[in-house]
């Protein structure tokens, strides 16, 4: 700051920054990307450790014996499911009652805005069944949840079987201090959403549900179980929830600790951990794992039934059983013991999980990158925007050098003075801003009279594309020929707007913010009306939010080692958009409105600048 109070040095600094602006920006961009890639490098990351004392030092012994019986229950469940052709509510109620639980049901119904083609549903009606195991001598103030979705077909029967088996076993134990709620939810996320809304008596998405009859107080933690085979090779932990929220890292640590203790292979993002971090393949493996997490988090959708709990400040994760062709198998008893151990530790909690991190990335299950380490990567990208803004500000503040013919008319001089610049600029800045946002609103408004998914998606894309043609034509009609000052002011506003937008996004959902910054920052940095039009327009379109999404789809498939052809990728792209709209209207995911209402208009401003003249 002493630097700034010396006018000479200030001038020197500013001239340095403006003169070297482009190279500094390039360096920052490279450094940001390099920093981000470095995050996956094991020596740069921290080992996970249990922060919560109540779960760390206490010993528990796992004794769950009845894996076989749980599988038999699962088969019985499957038979009843087939017979009823859906959720066997009566059977579940009876079975849970026989296990000594207080059993309640909840009916819900929801009409989707348009048919969901992925899951083939439109009018959804279902019933959730849950049983509460009352802890002895506990005043019903705290509860834990174990849930298993009842999915159509042959999936997930083992999960329900194990859930019932655990219920029976837990019922006979004396050490519970928190009520345990065993929930079987129908229609996966929709059922879960209905149950959670019923439990907390909120209605954020306009769903119809019958009120719950039994409760267990404030829910401290929840696990969702997905298990579709009798034996498994590994257990996968899914953390990413709605809007990129993550559960407390201690929950992941707990899972990892028990996998280690019991000797079950555990994965995250379906990827096993490797020890050869110093080899190229080892490094690329952890980059892939981390990138998968980033992509999933950026999507803002819940990647398991646990994802909806996070809104209610309930730490939750989904545990998925994976059965691949490996030799080493674990049976249901082992998984039951693992869950028993986890629940006993959660039962020991005195406070909600709060000791460990809420913002983190995981390049492997045993290592994590905390917010303090990954934020600089984003900061380096964001600083480019500030540098460009500074550059523009300086350009606008200093009068243009009179090099042309020495007769710079006083008009432009007055205009360029910072105090007076705004009056003619207001209209020329405001018009594109308003028009871009109106276009954004047009994309965001749900055009649901059309009842076909593809129609909805294609309408959105059409409006999006039409938006490209709209603003730069209309603004010329309204405010005449754009001036040199005009685009600079507009760009200054646009760059600062983007900086604020990305900054806020990155604070809430780092991955989304970073991916958007990665594509939008170069656009914001280089675009002027003076660059070659055709080439720049092409680059601009390539780096637009929609194309970013398209590339992300391909990249995600690539990371999952399931590459797709272009046509399939395009279909996937369309379904991702429709899922985004559905996630928004069903669960309140914010990514679609964010892109449509804020990011896309912001990008349109840059598009506008390109076609200023």
């Amino acid at each position: 700051m002493g630097l700034l109070s010396d006018p000479n040095r200030r001038r020197a600094l500013i001239s340095l920054l403006t003169r070297l602006n482009a190279p500094i920006c390039v360096v920052c961009y490279m450094a940001g990307v390099a920093w981000f890639m470095g995050l996956a490098f094991e020596p740069f990351t921290l080992r996970t450790y249990m922060s919560e004392n109540a779960m760390g030092s206490t010993m528990v012994e796992e004794r769950f014996p009845a894996g076989e019986r749980a599988l038999a229950t699962g088969r019985e469940f499957s038979a009843h499911k087939k017979k009823v052709g859906g959720m066997p509510v009566d059977w579940l109620v009876k079975t849970m009652q026989a296990r000594g639980l207080e059993v309640f049901t909840q009916r819900f119904s929801r009409t989707l805005p348009f048919p969901d083609e992925n899951k083939e549903r439109y009018l959804v009606k279902g019933t959730n069944v849950y049983g509460i195991l009352r802890a002895p001598r506990a005043p019903r103030t705290e509860a834990l949840v174990l849930s298993a979705p009842c999915t159509p077909g042959d999936n997930n029967n083992q999960a329900v079987g194990l859930l019932l088996g655990l219920a029976q076993y837990f019922r006979n134990q004396v050490y519970w201090a928190k009520d345990i709620i065993f929930l079987v939810n129908e229609h996966d996320l929709i059922g879960m959403q209905a149950w959670l809304e019923g439990y907390h008596h909120t209605n954020t998405t306009g769903m119809d549900w019958s009120p719950l009859q039994g409760r267990g107080g404030s829910i401290q933690a929840a696990l969702s179980l997905e298990l579709s085979s009798d034996v498994i090779t590994s257990l996968d932990l899914v953390l990413e929830g709605l809007n990129g929220q993550l559960p407390n890292l201690d929950l992941a640590n707990l899972f990892y600790a028990f996998c280690q203790k019991i000797g079950v292979l555990c994965t995250i993002q379906g990827k096993l951990q490797r020890n050869d971090w110093d080899s190229v393949s080892g490094y690329s493996h952890s980059v892939q794992t981390m990138m998968l997490m980033v992509m999933k988090q950026a999507s803002g959708r819940p990647w398991g039934d646990h994802g909806l709990f996070l809104r209610y400040h309930i730490e939750a994760a989904t545990i998925k059983g994976i059965n691949s062709f490996r030799q080493y198998k674990s049976d249901t008893t082992t998984i039951g013991r693992l869950l028993e151990g986890m629940y006993r530790k959660l039962n020991n909690l005195l406070e909600r999980l709060h000791q460990s991190y809420f913002f983190y990335l995981m390049p492997s299950l045993s290592h994590f990158v905390s917010i303090g380490y990954y934020m600089p990567a984003f900061g380096l990208l964001a600083v480019i925007l500030l540098l460009r803004a500074l550059d523009l500000w300086v350009q606008l503040a200093t009068p243009p050098p009179r090099t042309e013919d020495g007769v710079a008319d006083t008009d432009t001089l007055i205009k360029s003075a910072p105090s007076q610049m705004s009056s003619p600029g207001v209209l020329s800045v405001l018009t594109p801003l308003v028009i871009s946002h109106l276009t954004g609103v047009e994309v965001a408004v749900e055009h649901f009279p059309v009842s076909e998914t593809e129609a909805v998606v294609l309408t959105a894309i059409a409006i999006y594309t039409a938006g490209l043609a709209l603003p730069h034509n209309t603004h010329r009609l309204l405010s005449g020929e754009g001036t040199e000052q005009g685009w600079k002011v507009l760009k200054l506003v646009a760059v600062l707007y983007l900086a604020v937008l990305l900054g806020c996004t990155a604070l809430i959902n780092f991955s989304l913010g970073f991916i958007l910054a990665l594509t939008l920052v170069p656009v914001a940095a280089f675009v002027t009306p003076h660059v070659p039009k055709i080439l720049s327009a092409f680059i601009l379109v390539i780096l637009s939010p929609a194309c970013t999404l398209l590339f992300s789809v391909f990249f995600f498939q690539e990371l999952q080692e399931m590459p797709v052809s272009f046509i399939d990728g395009w279909m996937l792209f369309l379904s991702v958009i429709s899922q985004g709209i559905l996630d928004h209207s069903l669960y309140g995911s914010l990514v679609y409105p964010l892109i449509a209402l804020l990011v896309y208009p912001c990008w349109l401003l840059f598009w506008n600048i390109l076609f200023w003249k």
């Binding site: 700051m1 002895p136 005043p139 103030t141 404030s218 400040h313």
Partner: protein, 577 residues
């Protein structure tokens, strides 16, 4: 078989019994009297409910000028408390667990989770708040409990819900204090002082069964002490002090054995009975066999021919009675070990029950929902709802709604006392008519206050407790109730005085709430201090500098050589360089 019948209102149905009238009439009436009683009731859920009641009656006057100094059965520690603090009525309960009305029906004596204390003072007390404070501290010592945490922030004066249960119709509720500590954990250290108040201690009589390793291995445990003045006779010519010590416990049938549902005194308490307390005038065990008229649900052994009927909670119940003062009860092995074998079980719907929860998400606002169920098929009845909410949940009383069956249900009486931050809690009392077969929902929104950082508990992320709401009501009775309170009845059926025949008094407690408040990260202050200081020192200082000063480029000061040269030139009279 010989059976003892005192002058009772109990209808004996035993044909073989022959009355023995010698005991009460011939002996000169002692001024104090001790009775003990155990009721065992198999619950519908399959659990088993055991309720102990010990009653000491003493015809004395603690309030007289001369101090009462000779104590026989009445515990001296409590007697001194009564006279020192001019207590008219004292009710204290310690409960671990929540009474599950939906599974278990109504308890004989309701109590909320945690500790509850309510006291009526004599109207001679001038400084009620000061006396209350002292009293709670003394009781805290007597019962080894954290009652000293009762202060003005959790004490209320209910206007209608807690009427005196003994004689005297005081209506000035400025002499009443009510407080709960929902977080209080009850364990052995509270049981031991409680047992010491009994005349026989835990040496003889029913108290032998009170072993903490078994009592705290249950689904519900509640112990209470009630002191009140009662009438000795029908005309209420003489009054006496009644000390009632009760202990309720529900054993989980499911826990230890799987398969065979079978209980005995030994399995429940790991003891059997060998004798009554020698100081007791009556010592009985009642077993509720109402649901089991033909013995198809369970069977009791040893069987007793002695049956008794009593009106309890609006219902006529039948009990098997075992009189411990009779040697014959103990049989040949000189020990009594009751055994119950179950055969089946089902569920029930209590006439009145309530539940409560916090709705909403986020740490700014929330909504308290209280649900009151009237399961009576055709009768509506009024209930008094008492809510005492700590000040850090700021109730928005204008959002209070009461609705039954989707319609607005206007309370006929509302008493609301707003909270004062850090001084007193919210008190909300209202009289609501519950329509038959309905759910009445009371909702009120609140805002979560940000506490001062020293006000947080050591475990702030656990959340903060809000005590149970209290629902008091006169519930329509199925059978005519007995309104004569002085007639001798089993102790469990005579606690709440019954004023009319057609209804009976019930008090239901809802669950306590656990509410999370916005909690700072307590490792942060250090970081915050560092950061703030840095920002203030560096950022603010220089920015202020930049904004308030104007900067100009100074001529650089001349060098030393130049200055010396100038001095010489000055001396020479030549203009300086």
């Amino acid at each position: 078989m010989k059976v003892h019948i005192s002058a009772t209102g109990i209808h004996m149905e035993a044909d073989t019994s022959t009355p023995e009238t010698a005991v009460p009439s011939s002996v000169p009436q002692p001024k104090d009297d001790f009775q003990e009683e155990l009721v065992i009731r198999p619950l519908h859920s399959g659990d088993i409910y055991a309720s102990f009641q010990f009653r000491t009656l003493w015809e004395t006057d603690f309030m007289r000028g001369n101090k009462v100094s000779h104590y026989r059965l009445f515990p001296k520690s409590l007697g001194q408390v009564i006279s020192k603090f001019s207590v008219r009525e004292l009710h204290i309960s310690f409960t671990q667990g929540y009474w599950r009305t939906m599974q278990w029906g109504q308890p004989f004596l309701p109590s909320p989770p945690g500790a509850e204390l309510w006291v009526w003072f004599q109207d001679s007390v001038t400084d009620v708040d000061g006396t209350w404070k002292e009293l709670t501290n003394v009781l805290s010592g007597i019962f080894c409990a954290s009652l000293n945490f009762i202060d003005s922030t959790n004490t209320v004066q209910p206007s209608a819900s807690f009427k005196p249960l003994g004689i005297g119709n005081v209506t000035d509720h400025s002499f009443l204090r009510y407080a709960t500590l929902p977080r209080e954990i009850v364990c052995t250290e509270n049981l031991t002082p409680w047992k010491k108040l009994l005349p026989c201690g835990s040496k003889a009589g029913l108290a032998v069964l009170l072993k903490s390793e078994k009592l705290f291995h249950s689904s519900f445990h509640s112990q209470a002490v009630h002191i009140r003045p009662v009438c000795q006779d029908w005309q209420c010519k003489t009054t006496s002090w009644e000390l009632r010590q009760t202990l309720n416990v529900v054993f989980d049938l499911h826990t230890p054995g799987q398969g065979k549902r079978e209980w005995s005194l030994f399995k429940m308490f790991s003891r059997t009975l060998t004798e009554a307390c020698p100081l007791a005038s009556s010592s009985k065990i009642y077993i509720d066999i109402t649901d089991n008229p033909q013995g198809e649900q369970f069977e009791v052994s040893p069987a007793t021919p002695l049956l008794s009927q009593a009106m309890v909670l609006g219902d006529r119940r039948t009990f098997s009675v075992y009189d411990l003062t009779q040697q014959i009860t103990f049989g040949t092995v000189r020990s009594l070990n009751l055994l119950i074998r179950w055969k089946s079980r089902d569920m029930l719907r209590p006439l009145l029950h309530g539940e409560r929860y916090v709705a909403g998400y986020g740490l700014q606002t929330g909504e308290i929902h209280t649900l009151m169920y009237n399961n009576h098929p055709y009768r509506s009845f009024p209930v008094l709802l008492l809510d005492s909410v700590p000040w850090y949940l700021r109730l928005y009383i204008h959002t209070l709604t009461v609705a039954s069956k989707g319609k607005d249900n206007k309370p006929s009486y509302i008493h609301y006392q707003p909270s004062k931050d850090r001084v007193r809690p919210h008190l909300l009392e209202m009289l609501v008519q519950l329509p038959p077969n309905s759910v009445t929902e009371v909702t009120v929104q609140f805002e979560r206050a940000l506490l001062k950082w020293t006000e947080y508990t050591p475990d702030p992320n656990h959340g903060f407790y809000v005590g149970s709401s209290v629902i008091s009501s006169l519930v329509p009775s199925i059978v005519a109730m007995d309104t004569n309170s002085t007639r001798e009845q089993p102790l469990f059926s005579s606690f709440f005085p019954c004023k009319e025949e057609s209804s009976y008094f019930v008090r239901v407690y809802t669950e306590p709430l656990l509410v999370n408040l916005p909690t700072p990260d307590f490792s942060m202050p250090y970081n915050v201090i560092c950061l703030t200081c840095t920002v203030v020192a560096v950022g603010y200082g220089s920015l202020y500098n930049l904004l308030t000063r104007s900067f100009q480029i100074d001529e650089p000061s001349p060098g030393l050589a130049k200055r010396i040269a100038n001095i010489i030139r000055k001396m020479r009279g030549v203009p300086p360089l």
